[in-house]
Symmetry: D5
Amino acid sequence: MVTSIILINTDRNKVNEVAEQLQSITGVSEVYSVSGKYDLVAIIRVRSNDDLADLVTKKMRVLDGITKTETMLAFQAYSRHDLEAMFNVGM
Amino acid sequence: MVTSIILINTDRNKVNEVAEQLQSITGVSEVYSVSGKYDLVAIIRVRSNDDLADLVTKKMRVLDGITKTETMLAFQAYSRHDLEAMFNVGM
Amino acid sequence: MVTSIILINTDRNKVNEVAEQLQSITGVSEVYSVSGKYDLVAIIRVRSNDDLADLVTKKMRVLDGITKTETMLAFQAYSRHDLEAMFNVGM
Amino acid sequence: MVTSIILINTDRNKVNEVAEQLQSITGVSEVYSVSGKYDLVAIIRVRSNDDLADLVTKKMRVLDGITKTETMLAFQAYSRHDLEAMFNVGM
Amino acid sequence: MVTSIILINTDRNKVNEVAEQLQSITGVSEVYSVSGKYDLVAIIRVRSNDDLADLVTKKMRVLDGITKTETMLAFQAYSRHDLEAMFNVGM
Amino acid sequence: MVTSIILINTDRNKVNEVAEQLQSITGVSEVYSVSGKYDLVAIIRVRSNDDLADLVTKKMRVLDGITKTETMLAFQAYSRHDLEAMFNVGM
Amino acid sequence: MVTSIILINTDRNKVNEVAEQLQSITGVSEVYSVSGKYDLVAIIRVRSNDDLADLVTKKMRVLDGITKTETMLAFQAYSRHDLEAMFNVGM
Amino acid sequence: MVTSIILINTDRNKVNEVAEQLQSITGVSEVYSVSGKYDLVAIIRVRSNDDLADLVTKKMRVLDGITKTETMLAFQAYSRHDLEAMFNVGM
Amino acid sequence: MVTSIILINTDRNKVNEVAEQLQSITGVSEVYSVSGKYDLVAIIRVRSNDDLADLVTKKMRVLDGITKTETMLAFQAYSRHDLEAMFNVGM
Amino acid sequence: MVTSIILINTDRNKVNEVAEQLQSITGVSEVYSVSGKYDLVAIIRVRSNDDLADLVTKKMRVLDGITKTETMLAFQAYSRHDLEAMFNVGM
């Protein structure tokens, strides 16, 4: 499972709208509207780098209302949960 | 469930060590070592703001090797997964 | 009581107008026009994170004239005043 | 009443200690430990600019554990509360 | 006397025009066009915080050509000159 | 008269000490401790660029407690006051 | 062989389009769409500084969709590969 | 082939030393000392994300002289060269 | 001789055009298109601060295509060349 | 002739010392102590990129007192002066 965390800024009045569109994209596991200098944080869980590339450089790019993104690839996950199992079922 | 996402920078050779310590703290759901300008991203899932405050301003603060943190409170979660159920069991 | 402090930048000639609109929103306890690199600071005092989320991601977002906000959740309050009592009456 | 809001960064493990010291200084109305890129936010309510100058450039400066401060003078307060009355009594 | 120093950025071809308008406002003691990352620096000398608030949040805000300002309140003045006397006469 | 405005950051507990030392240097007209992200602002009024160079790159550089300075040359002054006369007497 | 690495930001929905145009320019060896705060990284391998200047200040400048570039000249290459040979053939 | 580009800052007098050590690590294809605000740029070409994670969070982290790194995952490569073939042989 | 170095950013496709216009202004000794985060660097050599002020706040300001400038006054020149002689002839 | 402009920050009390050392290095044409956020600007005029690389990554790197440098390669020079002739003689 390839995991990525994306920090997102949106147009001021498009936060919820962008979040709804994002979470409907396959591979987008969770989207949070957040406090602080970013507007949204998306957690991506996909099978391969190509899926991640496709999601970030194509599917996300055409969403209206996103002004800036910063994509972080997760090198390693540390958790008491079996994330692979938990999210694989629902992927 | 109160969710928070924390962007973390660590001493250069303490990334894995900090991640291991972090994920052993109750309420820390996942920790990822990541590419980009941050070193780690921690996903916190707790019952109340007080638990979050305790975790951030006390438990995390005494961890050796953390140089900077930026805590973001999640206002709203958007997901096809039932996160409350998925993580409540294992909290 | 959930307290939050929001740093706000506005369009140059909309400082007072935005401040007036903000302070009329339930949950906005005080708004200050300030010196320095921000234009306004709002102190939010509400009952729950959901109220805070609603205020920040919906009610504030539609206000005309706000260009940037940075929301900070107060983990803990330190004061000689009984803030809970002082502000609860007027909330 | 002269109001000022001060954004404060502290040494990582001195957040609570600095907050306790700060709130014991006359004129410091409230101190909040906060999420985001600052560690503490202090609300100062004093009688004159001289009191504010004394507090900021003398009393706060000698506190151990503060690494950076950014002081903002409140030009105008907008609130449904009668802040002058509420805080004058307890000043 | 309340003194304030304001760092100002303007539209590229409006530097002189903004400086002329600024210096005609009562309370604006001096305006300098400067080298470096700011375009103008204004020295304000007024009788009270309210005068300063009125100047900064009303009179300056409506000037055309200003893109950004950062207002600094002077806590204390150190000078061999008797500034109060020098500027009081001409205020 | 060559005028320069210098934005200064100092060690936290050296603000007043540095201000006192600065204002005793010939050519330093005024020093203000200020709110915001800088600690001091010095107004320099000297006869020539060489005097300014000497002051900035030699006299100021050896003062203990200064951590960072940003010197701005004033191209042009706009003022109702006859600054040349006012400060020439006392230079 | 003169090598240069260029960090590129593009309009949000022009990443792939700009990459395709860039890689068709003689001297552009590789273009990568990347995670993080930049959108593209181009590796330039040309015969002389003049070729590099022509590419950067003329050919790249007219490409539609580029918002910002930061060109870095490679002083020295360290590699187990014989880059000169590998890329010279295909230049 | 997983490609990554890493922007690196080093201690001032360790640029060449770090470059030599880096290029000797399996998976590091090329290292360039560069002009601009970074000191080195490393091009990583490995078989899998795990190899990349191991290189970035373990092997690179213990190198003496590196002060800061920013790792970018390459989503897609655009090149007239058959990079896979060119670099696969030498990997 | 008063020397100043100006860091300039321009509209993306106006680099050469702005450079040509700049170098035709009396007092502009050299203009370089450069790598890195700035687009142009201009070296100004004039007789007095007033000439410098006139050049920076009037002549340069009306040039089309400049988006940002940062002017640095040279306090002192260190060179094996007799710059005063070399450039005085051609000024 | 390869020209480069280097923006330099130094330890506070080492500005003049570093400037003297720099200008004695072959290829360093001029060094200026400057106002603004940088301390020195060096103009390098050498025969080849290799000379520039040697100067920047070896000779300059061992100078004591330099804290940060940002090297910009000049792509093209625009000047009424015949810089090649003027500086070639003295190189």
